[in-house]
């Protein structure tokens, strides 16, 4: 590690500050080497890879179905979308379509997981700004979602719920009523979060015009999801390339204006409300029938290449699979949103103070295992 630091040229007034891999606000094990002049950041040198588990290589040694639990570990804050993306990729490769009920259940679970993931963002973001209390409020509501997941699939963090061609289990009988109760309560709770943060003068001074991301720069770095929508770029794969019956739901895509920390915050808060609407619509229109398409036990998709992407809570998430006609994929490449979003950190935080770096990094909502994989 020392050679990475030794090669940075420094003047008299500058010094290097090592932030992480163990640091309260690097959200996991990111290491940032900051070139500082007093409180001001001259440059940010991120070092990633502390959480590398070679998931892509593991995929080459597992059958298509066996790889599903590993996708849970790509983004532990939002496992359902990772599950869903893998299922959709393999289904696209093999030409399978999930039955309508399975598609609706997938939408319900993914949107609930989107809310849970944004709640973690909201809590950790406010914690990064020094407000402790919203963090625990957010986790209180997340707990309700985890209870719903536990009812459905028995797991609270790594769900392993999606299957190739459908989902693992149908929802239990009292799921619908509990889920409606959650969305009813949750809408009021979002108002509470907004009351404590959105127009708080201290919060505004800490977030307005901090870390402004122009659309062009964001796209060049590969930023996606709420990070780029905060800048006002209207790009949501649920609308642009609908999958899993998303075209049947009525929802809007919240957009920011300036692309600063506050815009990325408000986009996520509004997305939580939209996700609530989608969950309600999906529960209302939930079709009866099968939850899983017929897939042979010895599943051998035809040889070929396939790319499939979905809108995960953090942005564009997808898999590129090369199949060689056997039971195992020949090569799997995972595209995760956090990796692209993390790249803009260096652009955004130059010239700001160390307190702003924390706010900017929090607003990108990066999950480190997703970056390293």
């Amino acid at each position: 590690m020392s050679e990475m630091i030794d090669n940075v040229p420094l003047t008299e007034e500058e010094f290097l500050l090592n932030m992480g891999p163990q640091h309260p606000s690097t959200h996991g094990v990111l290491r940032l080497v900051l070139k500082m002049r007093g409180e001001f950041i001259e440059d940010v040198i991120p070092h990633i890879g502390y959480l590398h588990r070679s998931i892509e290589k593991i995929a080459e040694n597992r059958t298509y179905a066996q790889f599903m639990p590993y996708t849970d570990r790509i983004d532990y804050c939002a496992s359902m979308p990772c599950n869903l993306a893998w299922a959709l990729t393999v289904e696209k490769l093999a030409g399978i379509e999930a039955p309508p009920r399975a598609q609706y259940l997938r939408v319900i679970m993914t949107e609930l997981n989107r809310i849970a993931s944004h709640l973690i963002y909201l809590g950790v973001m406010s914690l990064d700004l020094g407000a402790f209390t919203p963090f625990l409020y957010a986790f209180r509501e997340r707990e309700m979602i985890l209870d719903l997941f536990e009812m459905t699939c028995g797991q609270r963090l790594t769900y392993n719920y999606m299957r190739i061609g459908g989902v693992a289990r149908d929802i239990p009988p009292d799921f619908a009523s509990k889920c409606r109760e959650f969305t009813r309560i949750f809408r009021k709770r979002v108002d509470d979060y907004e009351a404590i943060l959105t127009n708080n003068p201290i919060f505004l001074t800490r977030t307005k015009n901090i870390g402004v991301l122009p659309i062009k720069v964001g796209l060049e770095y590969g930023a996606s999801g709420p990070t780029i929508r905060g800048s006002g770029h209207n790009w949501d794969i649920r609308k642009a390339e609908p999958y899993s019956s998303y075209d049947k739901f009525n929802f809007s895509v919240p957009l920011g204006k300036n692309g600063d920390v506050w815009d990325r915050y408000i986009v996520r808060v509004q997305e939580m409300r939209e996700s609530c609407n989608i969950v309600d619509q999906a529960l209302d229109g939930l079709p009866e029938g099968e939850i899983k398409a017929k897939v042979p036990g010895l599943f051998k998709p035809p040889a070929g290449e396939v790319v499939m992407r979905i809108e995960a809570p953090r942005g564009e998430m997808g898999y590129y699979v090369v199949a060689d006609g056997t039971t195992k994929p020949y090569r799997v490449k995972i595209r995760t949103a956090s990796f692209g979003n993390l790249q803009v950190l260096r652009y955004l935080s130059r010239g700001y103070k160390i307190a702003d770096l924390v706010a900017i990094f929090g607003s990108l909502d990066v999950v480190l295992p997703e970056v390293d994989r």
Binding site: L17, L129, F132, I202, R206, K353, I354
Partner: protein
């Protein structure tokens, strides 16, 4: 009655009888009584610090929809004692290349200075260790020691985070010292004294005569500026966890860390006690009819209410940024406190 003054007079009578029967001169009696008073204050403050830490955890927990410590004793009231015992047993780690003497003395300075303030705080009727005629000046001078200890800790730790915390603290406390001092001057003009004891006398047991009403602006500025002096949220930049990990005390462990920690809570009580004495009538009850409740209970109740307000700030607000913090002190608080001082001076001259 439950007044402390009766107890003090009894102790004085017994001690003077004992000393005169032993044939010792008056000066030994004074030394003995001052030592006793000092010991009593130290014991009281140690218990108060333990209570405040437990209380802060409980207040925070209930703001956040949880229970807080529940396992050790009734509602976890033994928790801080258990934590203190744990910290006593910890190894005292001094990092390599630290400035050892400075590293050692920093927590001592922090701890000692917050005790020294209490010499001039009137705890109740007749319960005032030393009624200095420059009481407020003494308090303002002593509380500034806190920043010296933080800068010492930041410098001596051989750690960039600690150094950043120490530098932030220096600029922050020096900036907020000015509006803090000026905010008290309005009340000083009204009372015409600097003595803490006479402040309480000047206000009397009538709630409408307390200085919080004519000096409300001064009270608000004092509370804001002293929150900054205490390094608590929203002004807790020197130890901003998410930015500087723990700031100035990052390299402290065991009892040295505990001394910083206890000093922080005692300083919070100091702010409550000073605000009570200067703006809320000290140990006086709000109405003469309520004087059957002992005066020290009024003092404690009012001080703890101010402490509760400061805790409330902490568990509600995000943290401000360092340049906003200094801008707020110089551009908002300082002009406001000048306005307050001038208006008070004119009013005192007219009435």
């Amino acid at each position: 009655m439950l007044e402390l003054s009766g107890l003090f007079q009894w102790i004085h009578a017994v001690a003077s009888g004992l000393f005169s029967s032993l044939g010792l001169s008056e000066i030994f009696l004074d030394i003995f009584l001052m030592t006793l008073a000092g010991a009593a204050i130290i014991v009281f403050l140690a218990l108060m610090a333990l209570f405040l830490i437990w209380w802060e955890r409980k207040v925070a927990a209930h703001f956040q929809d949880r229970l807080g410590p529940m396992m050790t004793g009734w509602h976890g009231w033994l928790q801080t004692i258990a934590d203190a015992i744990k910290l006593l047993q910890k190894e005292d780690i001094v990092v390599a290349n630290a400035d050892r003497p400075v590293h050692f003395w920093a927590p001592v300075v922090a701890f000692a200075s917050c005790f020294m303030v209490y010499a001039v705080i009137p705890f109740g009727k007749g319960a005032l260790a030393a009624d200095l005629n420059i009481g407020i000046l003494y308090i303002l001078a002593i509380t500034t020691f806190t920043v010296i200890s933080i800068v010492m800790a930041g410098w001596a730790s051989n750690n960039k985070y600690a150094l950043l915390g120490g530098m932030r603290s220096a600029s922050q406390v020096i900036s907020y010292e000015v509006p803090l001092t000026l905010s008290l001057m309005g009340a000083v003009l009204m009372a015409g004294t600097l003595s803490m004891g006479q402040f309480v006398e000047a206000q009397g047991p009538y709630i409408w005569k307390w200085y919080i009403w004519p000096q409300f602006l001064g009270f608000a500025i004092y509370l804001t500026a002293s929150t900054a002096e205490l390094n608590r949220t929203p002004f807790d930049l020197p130890e901003a966890e998410q930015e500087l990990v723990a700031g100035f005390n990052i390299e402290y462990s065991g009892m040295k860390f505990a001394m910083f920690f206890l000093a922080e809570f005692l300083n919070m009580f100091t702010v409550g006690a000073v605000a009570t004495t200067i703006f809320l009538g000290g140990w006086q009850p709000p109405f003469p009819a309520l004087s059957f409740i002992p005066s020290w209970l009024w003092f404690l109740g009012k001080s703890l209410f101010i402490v509760f307000l400061i805790m409330w700030f902490k568990w509600t607000y995000p943290r401000v940024r360092v340049d906003h913090l200094l801008g707020f002190a110089w551009k908002v608080l300082l002009p406001l406190s000048f306005v307050n001082l001038i208006l008070t001076a004119i009013a005192v001259q007219i009435f």
